[in-house]
Symmetry: C2
Subunit: 287 residues, 2 copies
């Protein structure tokens, strides 16, 4: 990782942590257990990929990325909610998350359902309350985030497809759609919102959209590759890019996507360097 990207992560991650800490009600605020559950699943862990991508995109237009942090944190809340609900017994039934008991193991199922609901709700509230951005742009950011988190093109749709609730056989096209909706959409919109709220021009936004289109899918393909190679893949029967296309072709595909992403934003100019390094980092990450 470049020293610039390292310095960026080292500054953004604590800023996101501190923002989440101040945005989520305190443990002492009644009803306290739900706030404890929300904080348990949001604070003190996670790579903060989405908020970092959002801030990196924003920083292409404004060196000081601090104004975007509440929005970036709201996106992280949506990611955290999705993990809480994904882990529920009725869903993936996971007892552990990030090395500690999952939310429902720690707080019980009702509280986990409600903590997820509350984080999703709070995310939209936080963006709606943001100062310092054009109101019409904030509205479009909320709409885009809703689309990326919901159905038919977003995270919820991806989860429906991933859980096999539709009962259709998985073709390469179907798998791409699952990846794009379940993970890709939120990754993509993180970048898009950062650029859009930085007041990128319509022309620049076109380049950003092409970047988002590639990085979203690439992120999940790389995740599949890591799952296949680190030997810890819990769900052996799961259809992934490596099981469908083989490891080598999956790696080539991920590389092509990332290359396409880098090329897509090149016309915006040298200020995109951090985003380009972010692609390198995601492509070369080991976990």
């Amino acid at each position: 990782m470049s020293s610039d990207l390292r310095a960026f992560f080292d500054a953004v991650r604590p800023a996101v942590e501190s923002s989440l800490d101040s945005l989520i009600p305190a443990k002492t605020t009644n009803p306290s257990r739900i706030h404890e559950a929300m904080r348990y699943s949001t604070l003190g862990g996670g790579k903060r990929v989405r908020p970092c991508l959002c801030a990196a995109a924003y920083s292409v237009w404004h060196e000081d990325w601090r104004p975007i942090i509440p929005v970036a944190s709201a996106i992280e809340m949506i990611h955290a909610y999705s993990l809480i609900h994904d882990d529920l017994p009725a869903m993936d039934d996971d007892d552990f998350r990030r090395g500690k008991p999952s939310c429902h193991k720690q707080f019980g199922e009702p509280m986990a359902i409600l903590a997820g609901d509350a984080l999703l709700t709070l995310a939209f509230e936080v963006i709606a309350r943001c100062d310092g951005f054009p109101p019409e742009r904030l509205l479009k950011a909320i709409a885009a985030l809703g689309r990326a988190a919901g159905t038919p093109a977003g995270m919820v749709a991806g989860q429906v497809l991933d859980l096999g609730l539709e009962g259709v056989p998985i073709t390469p096209e179907q798998l791409e759609r699952i990846h794009r909706s379940k993970t890709g959409a939120l990754i993509s919109v993180s970048v898009w919102i950062g650029a859009y709220l930085a007041r990128a021009s319509d022309h620049e936004i076109e380049h950003v959209a092409a970047f988002c289109d590639r990085i979203g899918l690439a992120f999940q393909v790389i995740d599949d590759i890591l799952d296949a190679t680190d030997g810890s893949n819990r769900d052996e029967g799961k259809v992934t890019y490596p099981t469908l296309h083989g490891l080598e072709r999956s790696r080539a595909l991920a590389h092509d996507l990332m290359q396409g992403a880098r090329q897509a934003i090149a016309p915006i100019g040298p200020r995109t360097r951090l985003l380009v390094e972010f692609c390198d980092f995601l492509e070369n990450r080991q976990h």
Copy 2:
């Protein structure tokens, strides 16, 4: 019920139904089962109290209430999501809702969780996409709706307290808080958003807020009274206004609250007649 209010319901309810029908993805849109589940729990039933209140408040300032219908429908989506999640086995564990199998009985638990998540998400997206309102007002509407639906002052907090997840004994103050957060907040904000997006003045909004404060609590106290008197109350051990204060005092309290609501908006003038009649209707309803 007055003939004007009857005519209003007869016009608004189909408009809300038709709006929900067009806002929620079609059954034929892949992944189809989740859209079927969302539509099952949202269309073709319900008294539409919240959207009707929202439209009634809007109509105080604009005779043509049609522009507010997408927003009113978004509020109904949040109501529908809350019922789906409340009915889950981990929560109230209800097999029936509005005379038909609850969402998880019909579509399974994973789909019910996701259908609720998707409706909550879509609600915010719909308001963010609304045309014809000042963007700053739409943002404040989204923020207010988030507050009313979330925690610590909204619906999720009320559900936490109502499920007894906090394990505190129920005092009169505690019960008022549960009612205000679990049901009152969304009822209140329905009226507030209708008035606010109708561009009520700051001075008028003060009167509306006082109205909202009273009607929200009154609505749930009346619900308690109906539950106690219609003999069908499923949860005998539940603490309600009648079990805590007796039927007579509960009725007097509900009447005082409704009277206070009617008086609060009187200064706005004769255009509030429909909202006043709405109070009469809610106070005298039999189910």
